[in-house]
Structures are given as C-alpha cells and as structure tokens.
C-alpha cells in the first residue's frame, strides 16, 4: 500500500495518462545522450574508481570496490595447503552453477565427456544465480525482418563500440541455435498459436527480438537445464566455492581449491580443464547502490583468474538497471524488468510528466532517471528518504488489453501484490539499481581466457565473469544469451582440450607470486578475497561478535 503522501502525485500520473498514451517522448540524439551520461551516469564519477596497482592489468581503472578485492590477499596461506592429496580428479571442473556453468556442462557431455568426468562446483545451490532471476528475455535474430548482422549493430552501438567484434559475432550468430536447442529441451517460450515466437523490443533493439517465457525467462531456462544435468547425472558440489585456481609445473591451469562452506574443509580438485562461470559483482554494491543480483554475486572469478594472469577489460563501466524497486522498502533494489517498459509503461516524474523515451539503452535511461530525481528535483520522495520516479504500469493494460499484466508479467505482479500494490491500477516507483558487470576477464571466441602472453592454457570462461561481449553497456536480453552462447562454446572447447591435456604437479606458485607483488606495491594485509558472501549482519551485532568456536 502506498503512503498518503504519494496520492497527489499518483493522481497527476493518472491525469496525464491519456495524453501520454498518444505519444512517447522523442528518442535522444547522439550528442544529447553523451551529455546526459557524462553529467549523470554514476560511471562518470572519477572519485568512485582507481587504477589497479598490481597484476597484468595494472594501471587500468576499475571501481574502488573491485580494486579492493583485486588488491587483496588470498584466503589461505599457500604453504599450509597440502596439494599432494587429491580429493577429486576430473576432466572438466566447472566453477559456478548458473546458466553458463550448466550449459557448459551439458555441451561438454554432448561432446563426448562422460558425466563422471564433469564436476560443477558452486557456492550456493545448483541454479542459485543471476540466470534464474533474469526476467525479461533473451535476444535472438530469428524473424524474417531481422538478421544476426542487425543484431550485431545493436550490440556494438549499445556497447558504445567498445565490444570485441569476434565475440559479438559469435553471440549473434549462435543465438538462434541456442533458442532452438532450448526448444528441443522443452523450454516453454511464449508463442503464438502457429508456433511463432512472441517477441518484443528491449532498450536499444532495432527489431523486436526479445524472446520470453512470461517474466520468468531465466528461471524457465535454468530449471530446464538443471533438470537435464540431473538426468544425465553430472556431479554438483553445492556450497563449495572455489577460493583459488591451481596451476601445474608448466603453468597450465589444472584444477582449483574448493572450500566447503559448512565444514570449513578444503578440497583439492585436479582437472584437465577449468571453466569459470562464476558470474558478476552485484553484491559488491558499487558506489553503495542496492542490487538486483543474487546473494553470491561477489566476483570471486575475477579475483581467482587475475591471480593466474588473466587480463581484465571494460571493468570501468558498470550497469545500473534503470528500474529497480524504490518502494516498498522491503524490496528496494530488486529488479523491475525492462519488459514493463517494453510493453508500454512510461517513466514519469512526480508531476506526471514524461522525461525520457522508455526504451533508450540502459545507461542512458538510468542517467535520465537520476537527473530527474537529483538534477531537476522531480522525483517522488519515499518515507525513508529515497527518491524514485513512476513507471506507469497501468498503461500496459490500456495498450494490450486486460489481463496482460498477470499473463505476461506474473512475477512482477506477484512481487508488488505481496506488498499490497496492484500494478494493474497503480504505477510503481523505481530508481536505478546495480545490475550487471559489463566487463570482465578477457576471452577469445573459443572462450579461452587470455593473459598477457596469449591463451592461459586450461582455463575457459563464460557468462558475466568474462568481458568484451557487451563493451561498455549490455542490452537487455543479451546476458542470458551470453551465458548460453559462451557456456556452450566453453563446454565444447574444454571437452576438446581435455582430451589431449595432461596435468603435471599442482601448485599455488602463482598465488605466492601475487602475494609478493602485493607486498612490493605496499598494499597492507588488511583485505582478503574472494569474499564469497556479503555480510549483512547488523553492525551492533558485529561490533560485539567474538570468534571462539
């Protein structure tokens, strides 16, 4: 239920609705977009970032929160770890149990690796990931008026032309193959009577190519892939995050050190190939923003890969989703899918006025909302002092007919209804929220991780942990696609590689060297990483906590 003080503003939104239905605001020109971003997008605040002082990407600029975990000491003392006793020996170790990791496992299996020789190690449960939370959809250029080349141009333009071309080409060319694969696995995509996929626009798309399964798209994909992995019998080690990679005497990656979160024991895994599918950094709360991300999104993969010499790219840009929940307080920061705007809901200010086209690329849309709230002072102020703007959801049913919201936005409808807000009749209050790690570890088109001297043997990466696919800004519907396309490629190539690979004696030499470098750079031993889980315990409790047991 909305507090009384919102009423006046809601009435204004209702009063302007008919007029606004006639015409959405103009899209911004290139110059206007640039100015808006420079002034209002959080990425353009120099004080929120710093140069890395160590490692192969030394000198590159990353958010302070990322620098903090990169310039951090390992969780373990390498000298105290016994690597002579191997707990698991396998062909392929996949670190991460979300969409990318599970797709990788399935394609490794399709390419001849037996299920007993594949392990998925994951920090939470199999499927607890950002994939399962992806609501709006997945892009694929599979309609007559569309083509992978048109999709390519949308991705590159949306990414501010910073993307790695060969990765984008794979993303868009493989997209229809992935949707077809899903269809064969039984994913229930939204279809018309004759089987045609129901597709809509997303921010920055030039064709309607957003495929969806209601607004549970990621969940539907994830639960089908997980079901398939279970049918095949792929071993999953849950609550067992990796805390460092292992290398052999030739410097190849040959496994990882896992940590059982419940027993505090470490496990040594020897693997011919390792696939990093650890996701992104939402739970680092860059610049103090709330996040849409799942509990385990702490960028562990970046930390581990960087210590074996993986290059980072495009880490200076962060994706703030334009529409996170701003009210009610219980769910602040959670995602309001872009599909809400895709179906016609317009962002409007406290006076009920339009101020931006609903489907600008995400960074532009987010910057416009921040400007409206803090530059023009036309946001709605909540009882906790937060500001937000209205997303006029009742427009959806005026445009598409009664019942559309429950049918196509069931998850959103349910989320707000739980807090007595009916988005069919009342607008919803939103503000940008930390959503996605645009950049990441650099890979090539075979999902092999790249270091300063080319390929790091034995190491592959897929999904949000890798960078280059989305340049400086990802479009809606390309992250689910990224997990599937590069998960598949990583699985196929890791299978191929592991057939020939031989792993020598395992070591943590790279970690020792990294520690030396940290010391040489004068970085104090205050921080350890990967951080594995955020800590939301109340400060009052923490200040009196003692470590006895």
């Amino acid at each position: 239920m909305y507090p009384k003080e919102f009423e006046k503003s809601i009435r204004k939104v209702e009063e302007t609705r008919q007029e606004r239905l006639k015409k959405p605001p103009e899209r911004l020109g290139e110059k206007e977009k640039e100015e808006l971003l420079k002034k209002w997008h959080p990425d353009y605040k120099p004080e929120a970032k710093r140069k890395l002082r160590v490692g192969v990407s030394k000198g590159s600029i990353v958010p302070n929160e990322v620098a903090d975990i990169i310039e951090a000491y390992p969780l373990i003392n390498p000298d105290e770890i016994d690597l002579s006793q191997i707990d698991y020996e396998t062909d392929i170790l996949i670190i991460g149990g979300g969409g990318a990791g599970t797709a990788a496992a399935l394609f490794a299996y399709y390419n001849g690796i037996s299920p007993e020789n594949i392990i998925i190690a994951t920090k939470l449960r199999h499927g607890d990931s950002n994939t399962i939370m992806a609501q709006g959809g997945i892009q694929a250029a599979d309609k007559e008026n569309d083509s992978p080349v048109i999709h390519y141009l949308d991705v590159i333009g949306g990414g501010h032309f910073a993307n790695k071309p060969e990765l984008v080409a794979r993303l868009v060319l493989d997209a229809p193959l992935i949707i077809k694969w899903h269809e064969e696995l039984g994913v229930m995509y939204d279809k018309k009577e004759d089987g045609e996929m129901i597709t809509i626009h997303g921010g920055g798309t030039s064709r309607k190519r957003m495929h969806s399964a209601k607004d549970y798209t990621g969940m539907e994909i994830m639960r089908v892939l997980r079901d398939e992995a279970r049918n095949i019998g792929i071993e999953v080690l849950e609550f067992s995050p990796a805390i460092d990679l292992l290398i052999d005497d030739e410097g190849k990656v040959g496994g990882a050190l896992l940590y059982n979160l419940e027993t505090d024991q470490y496990y040594v895994v020897k693997a011919k190939a390792v696939i990093l599918a650890t996701g992104g950094f939402g739970r680092l709360h860059i610049q103090g923003f709330p996040t849409t991300n799942h509990y385990g999104a702490t960028a562990d993969g970046l930390v581990m890969a960087y210590r074996v010499g993986a290059k980072l790219r495009d880490m200076d840009s962060v994706q703030y989703h334009p529409t996170g929940v701003a009210y009610p307080e219980q769910i602040v920061g959670l995602l309001v899918t872009e599909k809400v705007r895709g179906l016609g809901a317009q962002p409007v200010n406290v006076e009920g006025e339009q101020f931006v086209h609903p489907l600008e690329p995400r960074d532009v849309e987010a910057a416009a909302i921040i400007r409206e709230c803090y530059g023009r002072n036309k946001g709605v102020i909540t009882p906790t002092g937060m500001r937000g703007i209205w997303l006029d959801s009742p427009m959806i049913e005026i445009i598409h007919g009664k019942g559309t919201i429950e049918r196509r936005l069931g998850a959103m409808f349910r989320m707000f209804k739980r807090f007595d807000i009916d988005m069919r009749y009342e607008p919803i209050l939103v503000f940008p929220t930390l959503h996605y790690q645009n950049g990441g570890i650099e890979i090539n088109e075979n999902a092999q991780v790249l270091g300063i001297n080319g390929i790091i043997k034995g190491l592959f990466a897929a999904g949000e942990v890798e960078g280059g696919v989305h340049g400086k800004n990802r479009l809606m519907g390309n992250s689910l696609l990224d997990t599937q396309v590069f998960g598949r490629i990583a699985g196929i190539n890791a299978a191929k590689y592991s057939r020939k690979a031989k792993v020598g004696k395992l070591s943590l030499e790279h970690v020792k060297k990294y520690v030396e470098e940290l010391k040489k750079a004068g970085i104090k031993e205050e921080r350890k990483a990967p951080i594995l889980l955020p800590d939301y315990r109340e400060k009052k409790v923490l200040s009196r906590a003692i470590d006895i047991l």
Partner: protein, 246 residues
C-alpha cells in the same frame, strides 16, 4: 545518493517487533522481510538465501503466529515480519526426482504417472496449494497430471520456483515440483507448436548465409559503425494483436 538515503532512514523512528528464530526471541525493526530480520538479529546465511528476490526458492520458511493454530509457509525474502512470529527456514527438501531421456519418452496420458506413480496417492486435501508461496493451484495441476492433461499441468505450474514446500507438507508424499518439471518439458518439447521461422534461421546460419555480411561489418571502423548505428531503421513500437498459443 546512497548516503542521502541512509540519512533519511535515520530520521524515522524505528518501531521494533519480537520474532522467535527457531524458538529464540529477538527484537527487530518492523517492516523488514524475514530474511533481513534474521540478518539484523545477527545471522549470516550460508543456506537459506539465494536470489533474495522470490525466484530461486532457497528461503522456504514456515512459521506460526502467536495465538494462531495455523502453520504458514512462505519465502523469507518476500514476507514481512510480524510481531510474535515463530519461524524456521527449510533450506533443503529431500525429494526424489525421476530421471529420463526426453528424446526417448513415449508420450501418452500415462507418461507422468509412470514416472511418478505416487501422484495416484493424492487425496485431494489441497495442503500443497495452501503451502505454495506462489499461490499456485498445486493440487489442480497434480490432478491434471493424473488425468494426463500435460498442457493444463504445464500452464498451472509454470510459475513454480521449486522451493519444495508443497512436497514437505503433502500427506501422500508427492514431489509436486519434480512432477510438474517433467510436465512442462513434455509440453514445451512435444505439444507446443514449433517455431518455423526459428528452424529456417538456424538453417540459414548453418549454410553461412550471413557470413559475408558479418565479416564486412566486423571490419568496419568505429566511425562507419557509428554512422550505421545512428541511422539504422527501428521497427515501430505498435504491436499487432497477438493470439497466444494455448
């Protein structure tokens, strides 16, 4: 911005409520979700927290309220604490899943009951439906499975987040969420109409229809790409009336 928000919060006077976490009393601010309330009390989750947004089913929670005989079931991340709530989380559900090769399955009205014979034990008590935090018609979809109405079962169960609360409450010991997973996959694979345009596009890609054009665009300079991007045709917004497959 984040800073301003915090200052605003401080101004509000905090109203506290009593909750009992596994029987032990804590005082927490009113208005928090169960998940945040437990963190406020000093718990750090390993199990019992996943997406924190109502999509993953990791935080299945049961609780009673003072003076109320009912056992409630809900998601900790989507439920606000109330004064006098006695709660416990159930972060894992032991339940058997049938294994199958979807390519080999013979589809008829007995398929589901063959893989999950225990659905025939359903006594129509509706406890599963009452336990469902998604408010799905769980019993109705189990009945649909029993009748072999795969389409109905797939539709009714579509919003299932597989938290397992139905299975834990069921007197017939059915693992509803596994049964419906199979129903949905069968529907998606065998019953929903195929997307012909998709098949066609996949063929075109395999034949290399776009390779030349792709190579050309990949070689373009940023200036050329900018020009193309800024003048590209954008399909209009208006949507035709869609008749969805049912």
């Amino acid at each position: 911005m984040a800073r301003k928000r915090k200052e605003g919060r401080k101004k509000e006077e905090m109203k506290m409520v009593r909750i009992y976490i596994m029987g032990k009393e804590y005082k927490v601010p009113a208005g928090l979700t169960i998940m945040k309330a437990m963190e406020y009390a000093g718990y750090r989750y390993i199990r019992g927290a996943g997406c924190r947004a109502g999509f993953c089913g990791a935080c299945a929670t049961v609780y009673r309220k003072e003076g109320d005989y009912k056992l409630y079931a809900d998601l900790a991340c989507q439920t606000t604490v109330e004064d006098g709530m006695w709660l416990v989380q159930l972060p894992f559900t032991p339940a058997n899943k049938a294994t199958y090769d979807l390519e080999e399955i013979k589809l008829d009205d007995k398929t589901l009951v063959n893989f999950y014979p225990e659905i025939a034990r359903c006594v129509s008590c509706n406890t599963c439906t009452k336990a469902c935090p998604q408010e799905l018609e769980v019993m109705d979809y189990i009945q649909a499975c029993l009748r072999g109405d795969i389409k109905k079962a797939a539709e009714l169960s579509f919003d299932c987040i597989q938290c397992g609360l139905c299975a834990l409450r069921c007197p017939a010991e059915i693992a509803h969420y596994h049964v419906s997973q199979l129903a949905r996959r069968l529907y998606g694979k065998y019953i929903a109409p195929k997307a012909k345009h998709l098949e066609k596009r996949v063929e075109e890609i395999k034949e290399g229809k776009f390779d030349k054009e792709m190579k050309e665009i990949m070689e373009k300079s940023i200036e050329e790409l900018k020009e193309m991007y800024n003048s590209r045709y954008i399909e209009p917004e208006e949507e035709e009336i869609v008749v969805e497959a049912d």
